[in-house]
């Protein structure tokens, strides 16, 4: 990409140190303001009315009684939301997902919204809205939705071959070689079907926003989001506003993990505000978050792998079926791209089926689509190893992808980190620890792409020489600290002299979402270039002051230094001094950068996990867990470790407890943290991490994305560990006590 990549053996002064984050004090004192923490004078309370049916025609909505209730200021149904999306199908789907248009497509689908002077009135108003539904047949299971005769959810989705309506909205195929020939070479072939249930990102902060549109169609939105610029464009397009007239401010965000990359309540909150001509605050309840935001896919996956006696994999296939919720998506496509990415396989084929069902529209969840095929494939890898009497880690090392391997999604890899993570796993003391009765160990690998995207930052030097860094990527887990470290490194000043802030949409150019593990990677890159621009200005100012040519001024350790004949005894001009004299040397000093930061570098991880399963109750306890990941340069090691631990914990929850349970009526049975159980403190051990700092050649500091890969291996690592503990192969997540007991029982029968 033409960037300076002299990163190797780079010595850093502050990058890599464990400094305190700038937003730390606000967050431990309760001062930090999240989505629900903003208030505006005269604000109204916004509430949604949601479908109690999985699939129903909305025959009539009568809001007349509700409208007459004192204190009700606006009611919105789809009738108030003209379709301005043109022929942009994706946008039309977003509009329809925000508010049902003639048909409720899942339990929880919004059908109306109210703004009233207080909660009590808003609740009363919801009760007064009368809707007559005509129930339609529904389907929530991925395999059932693919069967002939299944209820069809969208008539516009057609089977590619027959042209008939279908729930399969996309079929994607990746791979190379001739898999039949591959299987013909194999000495052992193992084929198995796996299922993973739908899970939710489970961020603790529900979606929340404060919308305020004035009568001149300009507005402001305060919102918890992973990308306020993206929210701005979507909302503006749906409501027919100019993006420049809608200022979106991202609040502190209480977790996102992909779930806050999409709008749900925001366009409606704005519409309510516009209609009521008052600010409107909308905060989702937890029940609404589960029923009506964007969980991940449930899947059903067939995997077949063949290998020679020496362990060489000769061929592999995967058929992957993913629920997309009630609207077309591409989640199985993503799954089919990455499924075999860890391995060097000559003949490989993955086919993904994206399937529409009566469930909420799927959104990204940390390394979206990747944990499920990893569960299936890494489980079969263990079965092959057992068949060949090889150690599972040896089988993986033997087949690991490396530089020059053709990736299962097409291109040839450059230098990659799967091998090093596996070697580190093999040599980790964890692998030699003794296991006791009812305990089992599992190992698994994972892959994620990571990406960069559009980014811009402003770096402003204050009159006292302190530095304000304004970035446009939302800080989801400590990135302001990392970015301030990078600015300090580049400018050669102490970390404490830099303050990083997230700018609103009116103060910076467009920035993509904080997703795809891009936050620190891309804003870090822009920060470096912005700092370099500022340094050029600083050198110019020093040159002016000294009246010497620019080329004779270098920037070192936070100060301009004159070089060359006759200049060496000039005392350096520090950032502080240059800032103080700025008014007379040309005015404010700043650096700016816009970049498309591509090439965040693919990332790999290997996890090791020990579990103990109680054979009487089927309860699994994770007793030891180790994450090894190729993370590039770790700018702030604490927050890199935090990403690795947090992803592992989410994967552990997915593996053991978490699932969306739908009843026969197609309604979600467990929309709350009591019955949708995410790991609590006493469920987990300390999670060991080992960061392999394999630098990314396409980033000036060698940084790569780190946030997502850690959720990919846990389902499989735990699956393998549990299977080893109980002696029965587990093929369905979550591996809840009931499923484990049933698997044990079935194996005896």
């Amino acid at each position: 990409m033409g960037h300076d990549s002299t990163y190797t053996n780079q010595k850093f002064k502050v990058v890599g140190t464990r400094v305190n984050r700038p937003d730390g004090v606000d967050k431990v004192t309760g001062r930090a303001k999240y989505g629900a923490d903003a208030y505006a004078p005269g604000q109204l309370v916004g509430l949604f009315l949601r479908s109690p049916h999985a699939h129903a025609k909305i025959k009539k909505i009568d809001v007349s009684k509700a409208e007459k209730l004192d204190g009700v200021k606006a009611i919105i149904t789809s009738a108030d939301l003209p379709d301005l999306t043109g022929d942009d199908r994706d946008l039309t789907d977003i509009l329809e997902n925000c508010m049902a248009r003639g048909r409720a497509l899942y339990d929880g689908h919004a059908v109306a919204a109210v703004a009233a002077i207080d909660m009590q009135t808003a609740k009363k108003a919801l009760k007064l809205i009368k809707i007559s539904y005509q129930k339609l047949p529904h389907v929530t299971d991925v395999d059932q939705a693919m069967e002939p005769g299944a209820p069809i959810i969208h008539d516009f989705v057609r089977d590619r071959k027959t042209g008939k309506p279908s729930n399969v909205c996309k079929i994607s195929q990746f791979g190379h070689g001739d898999v039949e020939a591959g299987f013909a070479e194999a000495d052992v072939i193992i084929e198995k079907t796996f299922k993973t249930e739908q899970t939710h990102q489970g961020y603790i902060e529900p979606h929340a926003c404060l919308a305020n549109i004035s009568s001149d169609n300009t507005g402001e939105l305060w919102v918890t989001t992973q990308g306020h610029f993206g929210f701005r464009s979507t909302c503006a397009e749906l409501l027919g506003m100019d993006v420049a007239k809608l200022k979106v401010t991202s609040s502190e965000i209480g977790g996102g993990f992909g779930g806050k990359t999409h709008v749900w309540i925001e366009p409606i909150a704005l519409a309510l505000s516009r209609k009521a001509n008052r600010p409107v605050k909308v905060v989702m309840s937890r029940d609404e978050v589960f029923r009506a935001s964007g969980p991940t896919s449930a899947t059903s996956i067939d995997v077949k792998i063949g290998a020679k006696k020496d362990g060489t994999i000769t061929g592999a296939t995967a058929d992957l079926r993913y629920t997309n919720g009630a609207f077309p998506g591409f989640w199985a496509m993503l799954g089919s791209m990455i499924s075999f990415a860890c391995y060097d396989i000559k003949h490989v084929k993955s086919i993904g089926y994206d399937v529409i069902v009566n469930r909420p529209k799927v959104a990204a969840y940390r390394a979206p689509s990747a944990p499920m095929p990893a569960f299936a494939i890494e489980s079969v890898m263990d079965l092959i190893a057992a068949e060949l009497k090889m150690k599972p880690i040896e089988l993986r090392i033997k087949n690991a992808a490396k530089e020059g391997t053709r990736a299962s999604y097409g291109p040839t890899y450059g230098p990659i980190g799967i091998g090093p993570t596996l070697d580190a796993a093999k040599n980790h003391p964890h692998m030699r620890a003794r296991l006791k009765k009812n305990q089992g160990r599992g190992v698994a690998c994972g892959f994620w792409f990571n990406f960069g995207g559009q980014t811009c930052v402003d770096l402003n030097i204050g009159i006292d020489g302190s530095v304000n860094l304004i970035v446009g990527t939302v800080d989801v887990g400590g990135s302001r600290a990392s970015l301030a470290l990078i600015a300090a490194e580049e400018l050669g000043i102490p970390y404490e002299q830099v303050r990083a802030n997230v700018g609103d949409t009116a103060s910076l150019g467009h920035n993509d979402m904080t997703d795809g593990s891009r936050g620190t990677f891309s804003s870090g890159m822009a920060t470096i270039f912005a700092a370099r621009n500022a340094i050029t200005v600083l050198r110019e100012r020093a040159a002016k002051t000294w009246d010497i040519p620019l080329e004779s001024v270098i920037w070192k350790e936070g100060a301009a230094r004159a070089t060359g004949k006759g200049n060496s005894n000039r005392p350096p001009l520090s950032l502080k001094e240059l800032a103080a004299s700025a008014p007379n040397t040309g005015g404010p000093i700043a650096g700016h950068n816009e970049v498309v930061a591509d090439n965040a570098g693919v990332s790999f991880a290997s996890h090791i996990c020990d579990v103990e399963v109680d054979p009487e109750t089927g309860v699994t306890k994770v007793i030891r867990y180790t994450v090894i990941q190729d993370a590039g340069k770790a700018v702030h090691p604490d927050y890199v470790e935090g990403q690795l631990q947090g992803g592992a914990a989410q994967g552990i929850g997915w593996a053991l407890n978490e699932e969306y349970v739908y009843g026969d009526d197609g309604c979600l049975q467990n929309p709350g943290f009591l019955d949708y159980r995410i790991p609590v403190c006493s469920d987990l051990p300390f999670i060991d991490t080992q960061i392999l700092e394999i630098p990314n050649p396409d980033h000036p500091y060698g940084i790569r994305g780190v946030g997502e890969t850690s959720i990919v291996p846990p389902l499989a690592a735990i699956g393998n560990a549990v299977s080893n503990a109980v002696g029965v192969r587990m093929n369905h997540t979550p591996m809840s006590p009931i499923r484990i007991l049933k698997a044990i029982e079935d194996s005896k029968a």
């Binding site: 994706d90 995207g453 591509d598």
Partner: protein, 81 residues
């Protein structure tokens, strides 16, 4: 001439071919010449694609130069969490 490999649904847009020959020295040229030659690919470009050059994936930066012997893959655009 570049050999451009296609994956997934992109293949059907060029009549099923796994690989097409395109004259191009940058991603921008590649995309414009490709959509001239295969108009059906435009809808994919609109919804988002990525280009992998020698294993490195570019989603947005169309200024990237491509050498004649590079390995070029057209991929669907991917999304993260």
């Amino acid at each position: 001439m570049l050999s451009v490999s296609l994956t997934g649904a992109l293949r059907s847009a060029v009549g099923g071919a796994e690989c097409v020959q395109i004259q191009a020295s940058s991603i921008r040229e590649l995309i414009s010449n490709l959509s001239d030659q295969y108009p059906n690919i435009r809808q994919h470009i609109d919804t988002g694609i990525a280009v992998a050059i020698d294993g490195k994936i570019y989603r947005d930066n169309w200024d990237v130069e491509i050498s004649a012997d590079a390995e070029v893959f057209l991929l669907p655009r991917i999304q993260g969490g």
